[in-house]
């Protein structure tokens, strides 16, 4: 009134209500009991008082059951608007106090937070982790082109100045490796350290072929089957000691194989004394391949180690030292089909080792090679890889039927004997060479006989891998062909209905280069 007076505004004093002095008794009012309309509790998940009553009727009376039976409190507000009401109704029904009914767990965050606190930092290149090889920095300096292999970045080829097309680089890397010597970073292949009194017996259960009698200092190729008898990974196992193996896997399956082996260790054969741990990252590993690979390695491996063919034959392995005493492991294995070794040092020295190999290899015109040249050479040699171990192929299909030992049990061997997987006309791995040497072989092409109609019914198989072979001067392929083992020399067709092309190919041995393995055993 005084303020209005100051403003010169006249106003009558209204009748002001008088407060009673009666005692106040506040009571909770949780829901309207009268009427037929829905009494909403959770407006996000549309839960009503009636739903809570139904939960109670159905005996879902504990707060956890109430929540899940009705979905009360399960939406984005995690019950902030609905829990109290819901608990109050249930408390009334069960005749308890609200706190006795209990509360459930809230999904965090309890207090709203900005989205940027939780996410949005892994963008672009950082969307998922990148794995880099020990020679990555060196390869970048060489101007390598990289390819993603899972999370890994691997050098795909190393272009030289003047090369404008990848085929120039890859062809050169293949030719030079087979002529003299090439080096490739193969660190990415899984390495699993297997130790224990029962290590060999464990490997006998994991691999289709036998490892029990593998001598110390020897490496053996191994094939792993799934429980249904289909091949799922291949690699090598090197016996460093009676109770110590190093198992290698493909790059893509390293984690899967380790997981499966650990499952087998813990759950399938828990009574075997065997321990596993991954060492993929711990060792930098390089393939050194070609007729001069031994000579190059003799400049790196310390002189007290004899790398001659007699002292270190094909498929041998052992601990050595390099560059004046650094511990290393040497494996005489070959993916390229050339005289080849793989040398491993602790990863921190991998960068130093590639530089030392390149410098020592200058007199041999050493060439670094990437995954493309690696791929061309293994196709030339006829080695199965991921394209052939494609989840549908058995040991028989891969031409490795005899590798599944009948003398011991392993994962998948019983299933692999099912009649459907052993038909006379089963697909078998073969080599395919174009009749017209200028024709390109396309992976994915389907194989038809020389004269049949092109149809699914007439399908004879398909091409799994193809590459231009600079050694042979033409495209070549590996493929799965019905009864392929008995069809060498036959001329068939590789058809590509998608692009409307077809070429004539001759069925040949999958081992295009050095089929007798003379280079391997040099």
């Amino acid at each position: 009134m005084a303020a209005l007076n100051d403003l010169g505004v006249k106003a009558p004093l209204p009748a002001l209500p008088q407060a009673e002095d009666a005692p106040v008794k506040l009571q909770a009012f949780w829901h309207v009991k009268e009427g037929k309309g829905r009494a909403w509790l959770d407006q996000q998940n549309d839960v009503t008082v009636k739903d809570v009553k139904l939960a109670h009727q159905e005996n879902f009376r504990s707060v956890e059951h109430l929540k899940r039976y009705t979905t009360l409190g399960m939406a984005t507000d995690q019950g902030k608007t609905s829990n109290m009401g819901g608990l109050a109704v249930m408390a009334e029904l069960v005749g308890k106090q609200i706190p006795e009914v209990g509360t459930t767990m809230f999904r965090p965050p309890y207090t709203p937070v900005a989205m940027g606190t939780l996410a949005g930092r892994s963008v672009g290149e950082n969307f998922r982790p990148t794995r880099k090889t020990p020679s990555h920095k060196w390869a970048e300096e060489q101007g390598a082109t990289f390819v993603e292999v899972g999370m890994w970045l691997r050098a795909q080829w190393f272009p030289k100045p003047g090369e404008s097309h990848w085929r120039q680089s890859v062809d050169r890397e293949v030719l030079q490796t087979r002529k003299s010597v090439g080096v490739c970073d193969v660190t990415t292949l899984g390495k699993i350290d297997v130790q224990g009194t029962d290590a060999a017996e464990f490997l006998n259960h994991i691999y289709a072929n036998a490892f029990g009698k593998l001598a110390v200092g020897k490496v053996r190729y191994g094939l792993m089957l799934r429980e249904d008898g289909i091949a799922y990974d291949d690699g090598t196992a090197a016996r460093l000691a009676e109770d110590h193996f190093v198992v290698t896997t493909t790059t893509a399956n390293a984690v899967l194989v380790y997981r499966n082996m650990e499952f087998a260790r813990q759950c399938l054969w828990p009574d075997l004394d065997v321990q596993l741990i991954s060492t993929t990252e711990a060792w930098a590993q390089f393939a050194v391949a070609g007729p001069n690979s031994r000579k190059l390695l003799q400049k790196i491996v310390d002189p007290e180690f004899d790398l001659s063919n007699e002292a270190f034959p094909f498929m041998g392995c052992g601990d050595v030292t390099v560059c004046g005493g650094l511990r290393a492991r040497l494996f005489r294995i070959s993916f390229s089909g050339e005289l080849a070794f793989e040398i491993a040092v602790p990863t921190r020295y991998g960068d130093g080792l590639i530089r030392a190999l390149m410098q020592a290899g200058e007199e041999f015109d050493v060439v670094p090679y990437g995954t493309e040249a690696l791929g061309v050479m293994r196709i030339e040699k006829g080695h199965a890889a991921g394209n052939e171990l494609n989840g549908t192929t058995s040991a028989l299909n891969l031409g490795m039927a005899r590798m599944v030992s009948k003398k011991k049990d392993c994962i998948g061997n019983t299933s692999s004997e099912r009649s459907g997987m052993n038909r006379d006309d089963a697909l078998v791995l073969v080599g395919l060479k174009p009749v017209n040497s200028a024709d390109p072989v396309a992976a994915g092409s389907h194989l038809m006989s020389a004269t049949s109609a092109v149809s699914a019914e007439a399908d004879q198989g398909y091409i799994t891998s193809a590459a231009y072979s600079p050694i042979l001067g033409c495209s070549i392929g590996l493929g799965l062909l019905k009864d392929g083992g008995n069809r060498k020399g036959e001329v068939i067709r590789a058809v590509n209905p998608l692009e409307g092309t077809e070429i004539q190919v001759k069925v040949v041995s999958a081992h295009f280069v050095d089929p007798e393995g003379e280079r391997l055993r040099a």
């Binding site: 794995r131 920095k137 224990g196 060492t279 990252e281 004046g324 020295y349």
Partner: protein, 188 residues
């Protein structure tokens, strides 16, 4: 003495250090690591052998312990990682194997891992962005597994609320480092 030069997991000739207001992220590249898994039926013997020769009592689940030159943390059932200074103990794995003999399986793990020590007043806020570990409720001596930016890591509490070691896969050092630095920038 061999003539090969080592590089750090981040690819440098010396460890990387990133400094922020209230936080330091330090690449640790001078530790030797060896895993030891007790063989069946010889678990007690394996632990005794380690204690007798290295002085180290192998810790219980989710803990690390240290004695003299050696530290060890629990990695799984009957499985531990042993850590020591790289310059003085480069052949740690061979020495641990000599100590346990046939009672344990030992593997060199030194270069399978990268390590970043994260310390400072803001450290807990930064880890809240990185992983779901309840570090506020933890204490020095804790050793947990955690997923940090899709990488399986160990997080060791060196000083509660103040200093933590993150041990992750070496080949992804760049990605892990990026995650730590980005989380730091998000907080600070």
């Amino acid at each position: 003495m061999h003539n090969l030069k080592a590089i750090t997991p981040l690819g440098g000739t010396s460890p990387q250090i990133d400094r922020f207001e209230g936080l330091v992220i330090r690449e640790v590249a001078d530790r030797a690591l060896a895993s030891v898994a007790a063989r069946q039926g010889r678990e007690a013997e394996c632990c005794s052998a380690v204690q007798a020769t290295l002085g180290l009592l192998l810790p219980k689940p989710a803990k690390w312990s240290a004695e003299g030159a050696y530290m060890g943390w629990w990695m799984g059932v009957d499985l531990w990682m042993i850590d020591a200074d790289h310059a003085d103990h480069e052949l740690l794995a061979a020495n641990v194997k000599k100590a346990v003999g046939l009672s344990g399986s030992v593997a060199e793990q030194t270069d399978g891992w990268c390590r970043f020590d994260v310390s400072g007043a803001q450290v807990l806020e930064v880890f809240e962005r990185l992983c779901n570990l309840n570090l506020r409720a933890g204490e020095a001596g804790d050793a947990h597994r955690a997923s940090i930016e899709h990488l399986g890591c160990f997080v060791l509490c060196l000083e509660a609320g103040e200093k933590y070691a993150v041990v992750g896969p070496r080949s992804s050092a760049g990605s892990l480092h990026h995650a730590l630095v980005t989380a730091a920038k998000s907080v600070i």
